[in-house]
């Protein structure tokens, strides 16, 4: 078999390649992978990391795909220039998936056949390096992954001091683990320096493109945004991939939300017995005047449907974060998708229709975290924030979170003194201002006229039970007008234009970076596309204007049926035939390679 060799080197590829690291989950590879991505980031090079992991705690294959891109493309790349094979079970596949000319690093104790001669091979004596550093027995497997960090540092020119600062961050300054991991990395680096004859065609070179930015994930951002949005109450039930959002709140709220005067908590968090109870508690809290929030994923969302419908009809503000994973059914719990657009938009029986905010970046997860609470209070209705596993759990380069630029909006709540001032008659569902949003009182109000009886059954303007046809229709129509009117105040779409575009592309959420990359790639092919990113449902008029302006619009999404495509087609039926659905779901984040190929295929016809 081909030995290590140096003949294949051509021109250096700098700061544009992907590394696929195959390990076994539960083996501590996460630390090694985060160290790599953070080191590269610290060198000022845009980088993203996607964890492709199993629904399992220990022992199954897991991959981490790092994309280095000085062009700033953070979406998934289908190409793999460097592979690290640490898992015997996936060795063959990892070898086969590597692009020609790529570097194949592998633990040399894996005795699997290598049947390719178009690669640069790099066996690593993982066991002997680890043995020499004499780790405590229980840490032996964990530090083994640091070997590829050291070897890659040598091959790609990753600065050792950035590795040190990455480890320092990861271990929160704890010198013991920092030093130990660092010693393995150093030993591996020196082994590579002294023994490897290969020269890597891929290289990182320091830039200043990450200056002022952070590496973070959307769920942490969403949790922090919720805290800064003044949430009072969170109830949740663990589910992948939503769990890390309430957990971020659990981590940060104690430090941020203690009243400095009394030292008491200005919020409460309950882990519920299931999603039925999580949404029930949140609805109860929202009714009682608390800014209440829960987070879930597809299966939990299904369970929340009945209370979501009640909250819509009884007009109770709540915020529900939906971190999408692959469905139907239990599906692929640890893989990403955009398949709950329809379910979220119309969650519940009857004519239920919700407001849905769709963040497309980590920074926007923070922003929508607080904005959702304001919108829910203002419109007295559930507000859903639709994110996904890719945005929620993976590491993204992001500008710093921006402090809310608007004061907290509690909407139309009447307390005792407000009721005294009201000259006209007050009724819970009486539209006093003509804007379809009535005034509400909340429990605890001691004014004798404040109380009302909330019910999911038919009711009149004064919340009395009613089965009268005209009252039912009047109430439901007003609620509909209220939701319709939100189009004007929800986050506007983000539109990117290029001169000479005759076609457009519409996308939403985590595919943003891949779609931007696609537009660049297609421009190189002579196809110019303007791009609109939907940020909320129901859509703003700008979305419809955009659709009207082009001969053809591609609607790109990570699901099978083109759910956003059908929503848009219903919004603007006279232009429906100009909307072309490009939808795809296989558990992986959409890549620019796939979108480009799909567009090119359509352009042929």
């Amino acid at each position: 078999m081909a030995k290590t060799q140096s003949k294949m080197q051509t021109q250096k590829v700098v700061n544009e390649f992907s590394i696929n690291i195959a390990t076994i989950n539960g083996s501590g590879s996460q630390t090694a992978n985060l160290t790599l991505i953070r080191s590269i980031f610290k060198m000022g090079i845009p980088v993203s990391g996607k964890n492709i992991f199993p629904s399992n705690i220990q022992g199954l294959p897991t991959w981490y795909k790092i994309r280095v891109s000085q062009a700033g493309y953070l979406g998934r790349s289908q190409k793999t220039e460097i592979a690290v094979a640490m898992n015997p079970k996936t060795f063959g596949d990892d070898l086969a998936d590597l692009d020609a000319g790529g570097i194949f690093l592998y633990a040399d104790h894996i005795k699997e056949p290598i049947d390719r001669d178009d690669l640069i091979l790099c066996p690593m004596p993982v066991k002997s390096i680890v043995k020499e550093t004499k780790p405590p027995r229980e840490l032996r497997d964990y530090v083994a992954n640091m070997v590829y960090v050291g070897v890659l540092a040598y091959l790609l020119d990753i600065q050792l001091e950035t590795i040190e600062s990455a480890l320092d961050f990861h271990f929160k300054g704890k010198q013991g683990p920092i030093d130990f991991n660092l010693s393995v990395i150093h030993d591996s680096f020196h082994w590579a320096e002294n023994n490897l004859e290969i020269v890597s065609p891929f290289q990182v070179q320091p830039l200043d493109l990450t200056e002022g930015c952070n590496l973070a994930n959307g769920n942490t951002a969403g949790g922090l945004g919720t805290i800064y949005g003044g949430m009072h109450f969170v109830s949740w039930y663990p589910i992948t991939p939503a769990t890390s959002l309430p957990e971020a709140i659990l981590e940060y709220a104690p430090g941020l939300r203690k009243d400095p005067e009394t030292g008491k908590n200005t919020y409460a968090i309950i882990q519920a017995e299931d999603e039925l109870a999580a949404i029930g508690m949140v609805v109860g809290a929202g009714w009682a005047g608390l800014r209440a929030m829960t987070a879930t994923s597809g299966p939990g969302l299904s369970l929340m449907s009945e209370y979501a419908s009640l909250a819509y009809f009884v007009e109770i503000p709540v915020v529900v974060w939906v971190i999408q994973r692959v469905g139907p059914s239990t599906g692929l719990p640890t893989r990403t998708a955009q398949g709950d657009v329809n379910q979220t938009y119309n969650l519940g029986q009857g004519d239920t229709k919700h407001i849905v905010l769709i963040p497309g970046s980590v920074k926007e997860c923070f922003e929508f975290g607080w904005k959702a609470l304001d919108l829910a209070d203002k419109l007295q209705t559930p507000v859903f924030v639709l994110s996904d596993l890719d945005l929620g759990q993976n590491q993204w380069m992001t500008p710093p979170f921006e402090y809310p630029d608007e004061p907290i909006d509690r909407g139309k709540i009447l307390w005792e003194e407000d009721l005294e001032k009201i000259k006209d008659e007050w009724g819970r569902y009486l539209d006093l201002d003509g804007d379809n949003i009535p005034y509400r009182t909340v429990p605890g109000n001691q004014h004798p006229k404040s109380a009302y009886y909330a019910r999911g059954t038919g009711h009149d303007d004064f919340a009395n039970y009613s089965e009268k046809p005209e009252e039912w229709e009047k109430n439901l129509d007003r609620i509909n007008r209220k939701i319709e009117s939100s189009r004007a105040i929800l986050p506007k779409p983000e539109i990117t234009t290029r001169s000479g575009a005759k076609s457009g592309v519409i996308a939403f959420g985590s595919t943003d970076s891949a779609v931007r990359e696609t537009c660049d790639l297609l421009q190189d092919e002579g196809l110019i596309l303007d791009y609109l990113r939907v940020r909320a449902l129901p859509v703003a008029s700008e979305v419809l204007d955009f659709i009207r302006a082009y001969e053809r619009i591609y609607v790109v999404e990570n699901n099978r049926d083109g759910q956003m495509h059908s929503i848009l087609s219903l919004e603007i039926p006279d232009r429906a035939t100009t909307l072309v659905s490009l939808s795809h779901i296989d558990g992986m984040p959409l890549s620019a390679d796939w979108i480009k190929a799909a567009v090119m295929e359509e352009e042929k016809s």
Partner: protein, 343 residues
């Protein structure tokens, strides 16, 4: 008569001030008796209606909150999911008094999970189950508390053994569990009063006959059976702190249970020599009564020292829903620090 109804309590309210809408339940429905005793208890305890939150699920029982205290906030939520609704709502202002009315379908079938979890969390809530062994609103199907062998018109015979709500509540570590009978208004009211003074979940299983679908004389949930099989454990009195000295009981015949707010429940022993502070003995007593075919009523279990849900949260004295906005949003400097601490 007119004079009597307009009599005012210590906060200047008449019984009229505690009333709700005209009942739409069937004439003679046991649930109406429950409504009547809730009104009497709150009136006698001088509770401002505005300080009460009344919550319910779905079913005949869950309509009940409509018929008392119009001046209290109320929420008729979803079938079996009143406990979660009440939990969230009471966090809004933990000083409010929660009264939940549920049924046997609502609690022992669809809502069993939420029922067990609200008992284990010890949410301060008076949780009344109007238990008639039958689904009334859907016109006469067996509920999970219907006894085995019960015959209903359309359903034939009930195949399954019943769920005992009191047993489930005790096993679920509720801190106050009682059973009574809607045909025994005095005991019902005494238990409601005691439950309203308990800081924690107070489950009262009220056997409340359905006169329309399940009132055959031999049925566990009928008036006739209840009247002839009821065995009260004790005579209950509730003693507000100021009056405690005025009540004299002979030693050995009564048991005083002090509650968190300085009040006492006094249990005057009747048929059984029973102390309701031992969970295992309470369960044994239920088994024995079942073997004897008795409807045991009274305060079956109480632990006034168990921490309530709100004792576990370090909340401010100001209700969360009245906190000013500036207490809710951390300052810009803190966000700057977070941004700086990120990688």
């Amino acid at each position: 008569m007119a004079e009597k109804t307009s009599k005012l309590n210590e906060i200047g309210l008449s019984k009229e001030d505690y009333k709700g809408k005209q009942t739409t339940l069937c004439l003679g429905c046991g649930h109406n008796a429950i409504v009547g005793q809730i009104i009497s208890a709150c009136y006698e305890l001088n509770i401002p209606p505005e300080r009460v939150i009344k919550v319910s699920g779905i079913g005949c029982s869950s309509k009940a909150p409509t018929y008392f205290m119009d001046r209290a906030f109320g929420f008729n939520g979803l079938h079996g999911r009143m406990p979660s609704l009440a939990t969230g709502a009471l966090f809004g202002d933990t000083s409010l008094i929660g009264i939940g009315v549920s049924g046997d379908g609502d609690t022992a079938s669809i809502g069993m999970g939420q029922f067990k979890h609200v008992t284990r969390r010890n949410l301060p809530l008076l949780y009344i189950v109007a238990n008639n062994g039958v689904y009334g609103l859907t016109k006469g199907q067996f509920s999970a508390t219907a006894e085995q062998g019960l015959a209903l018109k359309k359903q034939g015979q009930n195949r399954y053994v019943p769920v005992d709500i009191v047993w489930e509540a005790i096993a679920g570590r509720a801190s106050f569990v009682a059973r009574t009978f809607s045909g025994d208004p005095q005991q019902l009211k005494a238990l409601i009063i005691a439950g309203l003074h308990h800081r924690g979940i107070a489950v009262i299983d009220v056997i409340s006959p359905c006169v329309t679908f399940n009132n055959q004389d031999d049925s566990f949930h009928s008036y006739a059976w209840g009247k002839s099989h009821e065995v009260a454990l004790h005579e209950l009195s509730f003693v507000p702190p100021v009056r405690a000295i005025k009540v004299q009981y002979e030693k050995g015949e009564s048991l005083e249970v002090p509650l968190y707010d300085g009040t006492h429940i006094i249990l005057k022993k009747l048929a059984h020599d029973y102390e309701p502070t031992d969970r295992a003995k309470a369960l044994q007593m239920l088994e024995d009564a079942n073997d004897r075919n008795e409807l045991i009523t009274g305060l079956i279990y109480i632990n006034p020292k168990q921490k309530s849900l709100f004792d576990l949260y370090d909340l401010p004295d100001t209700p969360l829903n009245r906190l000013p906005n500036e207490k809710l949003r951390p300052d810009p400097k803190s966000l700057e620090e977070i941004n700086n601490l990120m990688f």
